[in-house]
Symmetry: C2
Subunit: 432 residues, 2 copies
Amino acid sequence: MKAPPNGFLANPAEGERKSINSELWHACAGPLVSLPPVGSLVVYFPQGHSEQVAASMQKETDFVPSYPNLPSKLICMLHNVTLHADPETDEVYAQMTLQPVNKYDREALLASDMGLKQSRQPAEFFCKTLTASDTSTHGGFSVPRRAAEKIFPPLDFSMQPPAQELQARDLHENPWTFRHIYRGQPKRHLLTTGWSVFVSNKRLFAGDSVLFIRDEKSQFLLGIRRANRQQPALSSSVISSDSMHIGILAAAAHAAANNSPFTIFYNPRASPSEFVVPLAKYNKAMYTQVSLGMRFRMMFETEECGVRRYMGTITGISDLDPVRWKNSQWRNLQVGWDESTAGERPTRVSIWDIEPVVTPFYICPPPFFRPRFPKQPGMPDNDNDVENAFKRAMPWLGDDFGMKDSPNSIFPVCSCSIWTLSFNGFFESIAQ
Amino acid sequence: MKAPPNGFLANPAEGERKSINSELWHACAGPLVSLPPVGSLVVYFPQGHSEQVAASMQKETDFVPSYPNLPSKLICMLHNVTLHADPETDEVYAQMTLQPVNKYDREALLASDMGLKQSRQPAEFFCKTLTASDTSTHGGFSVPRRAAEKIFPPLDFSMQPPAQELQARDLHENPWTFRHIYRGQPKRHLLTTGWSVFVSNKRLFAGDSVLFIRDEKSQFLLGIRRANRQQPALSSSVISSDSMHIGILAAAAHAAANNSPFTIFYNPRASPSEFVVPLAKYNKAMYTQVSLGMRFRMMFETEECGVRRYMGTITGISDLDPVRWKNSQWRNLQVGWDESTAGERPTRVSIWDIEPVVTPFYICPPPFFRPRFPKQPGMPDNDNDVENAFKRAMPWLGDDFGMKDSPNSIFPVCSCSIWTLSFNGFFESIAQ
DNA sequence: ATGTTGGCTAGAAGCCGACAA
DNA sequence: TTGTCGGCTTCTAGCCAACAT
């Protein structure tokens, strides 16, 4: 057997050279994953980043030194986003270049707001979880009728039986060809020749999903989503997980100190740690007044590639890691769920993850004019209140203070560590 | 097809739970790889470590901040060594726990000296590079006659044809069974049934090697060595290579500042970066006076799992990275090779990698009494001379100064950053 | 001594409709 | 509408010695 030119797969570095199809990437990433747009403002949580690394390594870190100069969140400009897919496993991930900022202008804030609306799941899309029959060597793939009719090129039904050759490209642009035939009693769409090669090459098993899309250029593409069961089981072998954690924190701390850009990888399917949050989303969430017993809804991906909301109740508010990440808002809400079915749901979430079921009174009173929030048990009641109030107010300042006509006006915001400085600067800019 | 319980392979975490057979590990690692013994002293080169990461990532790092507090070498106590093998690829690597030390005692130094002698390549060992026929689906594996006679259990030649079932375990203790038969015209040893399963499971290709050993308990084991062509192509997807580099340096710097232990992975086949060097080996190399034009020999692994020496000449002496790692001895020798055949050899090596071809005059004059070395072009001629002279002297101090009877006497040595302090301490300890 | 090839065969892969949920 | 199965066919994996180097 001849060796492939470079490693196990035919073109391992290909995913790196070519740019990845964005629609296919999002289809593989799932309906809940949305990436903030380039040029927008985001909030970066080192704690969440650390959590993703721990999940990827399947190992909690024994010891990570505290980084006293690294705040629990950094407001950053998102300079660059590139989409990637692991050449071995097709796992999707994104590389982002972030630059901590002390001030930002209104355009960037608006751009950040944009990020909230777009849902990137392609319209011409279908996804099927593979059955035992689909993955057995005994036969082919049974195509759901609707899917074949909506996505596949139409068959010539004058043929007996109607059949055609299908070609679709994956995330790495590798083409896969299948024989698509409409036969059986009752009639059905099937993929036969070529299918098993795909299954074994991608190492798919019953429970994994395959998806077909037709992108905006009406190209026919296919991708996979693996069942959560399959962790990539990276035991690294390159650097220790301790050094990884230190590296992440040191890189962020260095960037924060110098306002220099740094690079992170966001791996949406490795762990549910959305540690780069659009600033607008974060700000919007800061309007929410949380309290024990509060009811909320939260979106989850279903087995069948859809989404559904589950109801829950806030049962506690406390720091996830009171030692290293004091007063962080990262997953500081303890929650219970109405349905205790399978498919575990997290016991801790962040405020921007949930959709509160609120009484109208609490939403959107004009900032600075609404009554001060009552103290909340379990919430830090130190001077962070001031900071929170400030941040809650931010997204609306441009409108409320009639700055619509001065789009270039710069007004500063803070990263926590230099709060005092920026806060003073803030009032100066208002006063001018 | 049913999914394996956890990922692609049957027991991905198994290599982590069970301890790896040391002889098999070393057989897979190759004849040039030797690990310093636990409890010995080693010299750790962050620069070399960084190099290994760059090689593993197949990416030079654009930007790594300087770590001014991190010396280019750290003398460390080696506390722990665990052997590992990647569950996916069987790539061998070692995890080491190092603790920077300012002082060390004579026992540790002697232990470090031990490390030099042991060659861990098992005696009952054979290794064959796979041919196209060996890896094709058309047939089995042609066993070299000598190998079968030396390592395999003897066949019953009264049978027609002589045959038996062979069982061997790999690094993860997974058993593999093969039909071993002696047949054909002319007669030969073959592995038939079971062989192709092994080849496809381990994803072996022509050019890769398979090796069989019989360990000290006379267990029959097998392992693989992949051709260098196949890089693991880790594009990480977890953390950026920048953060990795920073993580490595930050972890080492933190450990150096606190004399606290830190953990590294040494991946001998990923790159030829032996960045953890036994102190005795380092000290011994410090005796070598290098000069332009000096002739030397150096060992390399051959295609056929053996070793051979190549002759070369020193063509330059300079820092590999004069900015970040000034006066580091890491690969500061530029070299040319007598044979310019294929199988590239490095253009830069470290002094402890080579065996100088020296005139007797230069070796082992009594330290402190020999004439001062002439200035060397291209070598730093600053106060590092003093340091080098001191370090050259170290391994012999115990004997030369009659300290044989005081095994507990502590005498300090330095890491570069605290040179002055330690150097003073050194004379104090001599004086007492 | 051992790599490659053609011939042969057993068994797996894979196409099909029947049947059932 | 679609998952699984028994029946049947095709093709590849894989055993063998011949032949070549």
